[in-house]
Symmetry: C2
Subunit: 250 residues, 2 copies
C-alpha cells in the first residue's frame, strides 16, 4: 500500500478506464476514416505544421498544459517539448511514484499503434469533412489509452512495495525477461480481454425501448477491442512496468 | 426531403446523438464537481480571462475553428466572436438550411443550463485537482448538447418542406405559440425520455463477466438524463425550431 493506493484500488480504476476507452472508440467511430485529417500535405499554411491531427493534438495539449493537466503525474503529453507552464495554483497530488518514473513516456509507441494499426480496424472508410472533430475525437482516444498504459507505473510501484524481494534480483541484473515473466498472469489477461469484449457489446449496441433487435451489430467490433487489449494495451502496460522497475532502485 | 435528408435520417442521427450525450455525461462524472474549474478568481494571470473552463473552452474552440470545425453548419461555437478563420480547404457540406438559420445560436442558454442546473445533478461533490481534464470533459458535453439542440434547424427545415402550408400561416403571423403547438408531440417526447433513461442504465452499469451484480447503481442517474431531455434538450430544440421557422420565409 502506497499512500492509500492499493492493488485493489488500481484494479478498480483500470476497470473504470476500460469504459472510457471503449466510449472513446465508439465516439471516434461516428466519423469515417477521414484521411485528410492525417495527410501532412493537406493543409499548407505556416500556422500548421504537419497533419491536421498533429496540430490539433499539439495545440490542445499546450492549452491543457497551461490549465494544469500535466501537473497530475498520471497524465502524459504526446508532445512534451516546449509545453507552456501551468498557470493554475499547484494541487497537492498524492506522491506515489519513485521520481525517476517521470522520465518514462510511451506515447510515441501509443501514437504509432493508434494511427498505424488500430484506427483502420474500427473507422469505416469514407470522408464526411469533419476533420477537426475527428482529430479532437482521436485526441480523446489517445489520452484514454495513454492514461491506461502509463498506469503501469502505479501498478509496478504497488507490486514492488508489496514484495520488493521478488523484484530486486531481476532489477539489479537488469533482466527484462525475468521482470516481464514476474508481471505476466495469463489467466488475468484473458479475463480482461473477455470483459472488454463484453463491454464493447453492451456499450456499442443500439438500445431501443423494445427488446434488442440488433444482435450481433455493434458500433465497434468487440473483437477489435479485445485485440486492442491483448496485442497492445496489456503488452505496453507491462513494458511501462518493466521500465519503471528497472529504475526503481536508482 | 432536402438533399437526401429525411425526417427518418434525422431521427436516426438524433437517436445516435443520445448515446454521445450519455457517454459524455458518464465521462464527466469520472471527476467530482471540482469547483476551482468554475471559479473566476481561481487563476489570476493575464493569459487567462475568467474561469479555467471559460479559457479552456474558448481556446479549444479557437484552435478547432482554425482546423475547420465550424465550416460544418451543424457545429456552433460557444464563443463565436473573433474566432480565427479555417486554414483547411473548404469541404462541400450539404446545403440544407435556409441561410438566415446561420444567425441562430442558443449556446448561451445551453451554457447556463449546463453549468447552473445540470452539472450539480450528476457530478459528485469533491475536488481531485484535475481541473484541466474536467474542463475538457465539460467541453465534450457542451458540444454534444449544442449539436443535438441545434439539430432542430434541420428538423424544422425538413418538416417545413414536407408541408409548408401547415406552417406558413403561423410564420406570417409570427405566432410562436401556434408554431410550438405544431412542433409538440407529447407521446414522442415521452418515448425519448424513456429511451434515454434506459440508455443511461445500459451504458452506466458496471459490466462484469459474471451476471450484473450492480442493479440500481449507475454512473449517472437515469432520472437525471430523462430530466435533461424533458426539461432542457427537448424544449430548447423546439425553441430552435420555432426561431428557424420564424425566419423561414425571409
Amino acid at each position: 500500500m502506497a499512500n492509500g493506493v492499493t492493488l485493489e484500488s488500481l484494479r478498480q480504476s483500470l476497470i473504470r478506464q476500460e469504459d472510457t476507452i471503449i466510449f472513446s472508440l465508439i465516439e471516434r467511430a461516428r466519423f469515417p476514416s477521414n484521411s485528410p485529417t492525417y495527410n501532412e500535405s493537406y493543409v499548407a499554411t505556416p500556422t500548421f505544421s504537419g497533419s491536421l491531427v498533429h496540430s490539433v493534438v499539439k495545440e490542445t495539449e499546450a492549452l491543457q498544459a497551461k490549465a494544469g493537466r500535466y501537473a497530475n503525474p498520471e497524465e502524459h503529453p504526446f508532445f512534451p517539448d516546449n509545453l507552456p507552464p501551468s498557470v493554475v495554483p499547484p494541487y497537492n497530488f498524492t506522491e506515489v511514484l519513485h521520481p525517476p518514473a517521470a522520465s518514462i513516456n510511451m506515447n510515441k509507441d501509443i501514437w504509432d499503434m493508434y494511427f498505424k494499426k488500430l484506427l483502420q480496424l474500427f473507422a469505416a472508410p469514407g470522408d464526411d469533412g469533419n476533420y477537426a472533430s475527428t482529430a479532437a475525437s482521436d485526441l480523446v482516444c489517445l489520452q484514454a489509452l495513454s492514461r491506461r498504459i502509463h498506469y503501469g507505473k502505479l501498478v509496478a510501484e504497488v507490486k514492488f512495495r508489496e514484495s520488493p524481494e521478488e523484484y530486486e534480483p531481476a532489477i539489479r541484473a537488469k533482466d527484462r525477461d525475468a521482470l516481464m515473466k514476474l508481471l505476466t498472469f495469463e489467466s488475468v489477461e484473458e479475463g480482461v480481454k473477455k470483459r472488454v469484449a463484453k463491454k464493447a457489446m453492451v456499450f456499442g449496441q443500439e438500445v431501443t425501448l423494445n427488446n434488442d433487435d440488433n444482435k450481433g451489430k455493434y458500433k465497434v467490433d468487440p473483437f477489435v477491442v479485445s485485440r486492442l487489449y491483448g496485442d497492445w494495451i496489456i503488452p505496453l502496460t507491462k513494458l511501462v512496468q518493466v521500465e519503471y522497475l528497472l529504475r526503481r532502485l536508482d
